[in-house]
């Protein structure tokens, strides 16, 4: 065995992770189906140079989940020592469910399993960001994240900002720019039945989402919490080549779920801020590759305040509203475990 050489710069938050009393907000969003398929084809289904013995396909309903989680007691339980390297953090990630088929050497697909894919994530703690990227393979970017939940949990406000470029130009200067703004301000009582009738497949999708957080309390629900990530690292010289590329399986099991509340999507304002740095991600993951920024898009931050963590944020960007179908909030304990390496590329 080649022993990893540990030191202070690489010893952050070894798995498993445990988060106690994490506050969760989930926003169900409909996206163009081709965005999901394109991501799967470019990251999981393509030869690199060998093919993994799996095939990933989107589920029948084109929904995904934008998740915001505030962790006030997040730690490593590596080596059975609970509470190691405890920290606070907020993470935001975009996830969607897919069907993963096993593929035989004769190219027969069998044994379908539902797993989650997380193509985009932000974290406001560098130590958990390093661990996410370097151990789990999640493509997390560092961000400044502000979550404002006052005395009334129904009213809440989330801002995300990260280093980026407003326009691509040799003289553009990277700075802290707005990424997204979410505001929840319920005025109506949610009618889940009406929403499910209106949105095809929504009932099944909500079932998938909550199957993974312990509401059903059975083994089937646990199976739905598997996450697959593409873990890869560049060669030091030829940056288009990876020295390591593998599909990693992990799971996030939620227990002690409480304070569950649903919200009608019409009471949620979700705005993505358009910049050169985010354009490809917004097109590729949320709006479709053919999307063109409307000529008269509204500008600026719709919420209060323009700074996060006392850092000024440039919100002077075109704003794109994305419809939220339904939202929910809850509190839970979450345990994150790596379960294995499904496939290592390079035979």
């Amino acid at each position: 065995m080649t022993r990893f050489v540990p030191n202070f710069s690489t010893q952050q938050l070894l798995p498993p992770w445990v988060s106690l009393d994490a506050r969760n907000w989930v926003f169900l969003i409909q996206v163009p189906p081709e965005t999901l398929k394109t991501y799967l084809d470019t990251h999981f289904n393509c030869a690199a140079p060998d093919l993994a013995p799996y095939y990933y396909e989107p589920v029948d309903f084109p929904y995904g989940v934008l998740r915001v989680t505030r962790h006030d007691n997040f730690s490593s339980s590596y080596g059975g020592v609970a509470g190691s390297q405890t920290l606070r953090k907020i993470d935001v990630n975009w996830a969607f469910p897919v069907n993963r088929w096993q593929v035989s050497p004769g190219n027969m697909r069998y044994s379908k399993q539902l797993v989650w894919i997380e193509p985009m994530a932000f974290d406001n703690n560098s130590y958990s960001m390093f661990s996410s990227r370097e151990i789990w393979g999640t493509e997390v970017d560092m961000a400044h994240i502000h979550v404002e939940e006052g005395n009334d949990p129904n009213h809440m406000h989330i801002d995300v900002a990260a280093q980026g470029l407003v326009t691509f130009d040799p003289k553009s200067l990277s700075h802290l720019i707005g990424i997204m703004h979410i505001e929840l301000n319920p005025k109506t009582d949610i009618d889940l039945g009406r929403l499910m009738d209106t949105h095809k497949g929504l009932a099944s999708f909500i079932g998938l989402v909550f199957a993974s957080i312990g509401l059903k309390g059975n083994d089937d629900g646990k199976h739905a919490s598997e996450v697959n990530t593409l873990k890869q690292f560049r060669d030091v010289f030829n940056m288009q080549v990876a020295v390591y590329r593998a599909i990693i399986a992990s799971r996030a099991d939620q227990t002690n779920v409480s304070d569950v509340k649903f919200y009608d999507g019409c009471d949620v304002s979700l705005d993505f801020m358009w910049s050169a740095s985010m354009a490809e991600a917004l097109k590729g993951l949320f709006f479709g590759q053919d999307f063109v920024l409307p000529a008269h898009s509204p500008f600026g931050h719709p919420g209060r305040g323009h700074a996060i963590d006392r850092q000024p944020v440039d919100w002077n960007l075109p704003r794109l509203r994305k419809e939220v179908v339904v939202a929910a909030s809850y509190t839970s304990n979450i345990r994150y475990d790596v379960t294995g390496t499904l496939h290592t590329y390079g035979r």
Binding site: W136, Q163, R245
Partner: protein
């Protein structure tokens, strides 16, 4: 050139903000501070970081540079950071070099180490002076990710403050880092001050506590000092005459690039020694500080203690006090820096899972100066231009 097991393509994500090297950094302000270091700690660092496995298997041994038993703390302010990749990038989008500019501050501690070949031939051709960076922090998250994932530099993300101190033309710099005040489970991470540096104005100045003449001679009147100045700051413009034109303008960094297995985190799925070149040019405005008036305070609390053990004479457990340091030299200058010539000089053998064949060790140890003699023109010979 060392290559991996296969030509595995890297899947470029649209959301990725990381910019791969090479880079060009014009107009960098460097503040540097030098102090004696315990050679045995440097040897321990070399043994634990570079001298992995047996000497026979790897073919080299890293040792401290006995001629220069000093550590150097550098604060670098980069007003402009550019991708300088001249080659087709094939990323389906605008080339990195045309996208824009990043600025940031970086702080690192450099220890000179010498890589010796282990037989009579390689002792000559593979021996090279390199700079280990056991501590490196940056203010820009993209830079930290690139350094860690591409270059084998263990960059941490920090709040770095630099500027003029109490007096005009002086310097004050500090680093705040995430840390745990106690290593007991359940203790919350905090953002704490790791190090603070203050100086009086650059020389000549009337604000000195000792003779400024003595200060200058501290640095320049010893052969060892001139060596480190040459390597650390590549002060070719300034001291070319003094060194008879034999000043190298390159500083080669060395780092251990490694990644963990996701399930068995004690196991490495990739491990190699990577060197890169930092080429300094257009060096101007070189000024010395009176080292007697330079104050460096490291915070020996909680999880910071593990960092300090590499280069300071601290105990194995935190003293929960500040560790004051008296440097033997302090100086500042401006320079243009090119960061390039990334090279894997040795990849360690890797056992793989799922019945995959192991990846054998590979070496490309020829020292920079000996490469032309050996027919290597590797650094500027990109596979896109000269497929092997």
């Amino acid at each position: 050139m060392i290559q991996g097991p296969q030509n595995i393509p890297f899947a470029q994500s649209a959301s990725s903000q990381q910019v791969p090297p090479p880079y060009h950094f014009p107009g960098v302000t460097v503040n540097a501070f030098v102090w004696p270091v315990d050679i045995s700690r440097v040897q321990t660092y070399c043994d634990e970081t570079f001298n992995l496995g047996t000497e026979k298997d790897r073919g080299f041994t890293y040792r401290p540079a006995a001629l220069w038993p000093y550590a150097t703390l550098l604060f670098l302010d980069y007003p402009i950071m550019l991708s300088s990749n001249p080659l087709p990038q094939d990323i389906g989008e605008m080339p990195y070099s045309d996208r824009g500019i990043i600025s940031q501050t970086e702080v690192f501690i450099a220890l000179p180490v010498i890589r010796y070949g282990t037989n009579p031939v390689t002792l000559v051709t593979s021996t090279a002076l390199e700079w280990a960076l056991p501590f490196i922090v940056v203010g820009n998250p993209m830079s930290s990710v690139c350094g860690r994932e591409m270059l084998g530099l263990g960059k941490l993300l920090a709040d770095i403050s630099t500027g003029v101190g109490r007096f005009p033309n002086s310097f004050e710099g500090s680093i705040k880092l995430p840390f745990w005040p106690s290593l007991e489970p359940g203790v919350q991470m905090e953002n704490g001050e790791f190090v603070k540096v203050t100086t009086n104005p650059v020389l000549p100045t009337f604000r000195t506590s000792k003779s400024p003449k003595a200060s200058i001679s501290t640095l320049f009147e010893s052969r060892e000092a001139s060596l480190v100045v040459e390597e650390m700051a590549s002060l070719s413009n300034l001291v070319e005459d003094a060194s008879l034109g034999m000043i190298p303008t390159n500083m080669r960094t060395v780092g251990l690039k490694q990644y963990r297995d996701a399930l068995d985190v004690e196991r490495a799925i990739y491990q190699s020694i990577v060197t890169c070149r930092a080429h300094y040019s257009n060096i101007t405005q070189f000024r010395m500080y009176d080292e007697a008036d330079v104050k460096i305070s490291f915070n020996d609390s909680g999880s910071f203690n593990e960092i300090l053990q590499v280069f300071l004479e601290v105990g194995d457990t935190p003293s929960n006090k500040t560790h004051e340091l008296q440097p033997v030299a302090g100086y500042r200058f401006m320079a243009d820096i090119d960061f390039d010539q990334m090279r894997v000089i040795h990849s360690f053998a890797i056992d793989r899972e799922n019945g995959l064949p192991p990846i054998p060790a590979q070496s490309d140890l020829t020292a920079e100066w000996a490469r032309p003699l050996k027919g290597f023109f590797g650094p500027l010979t990109h596979p896109m231009r000269n497929a092997e």
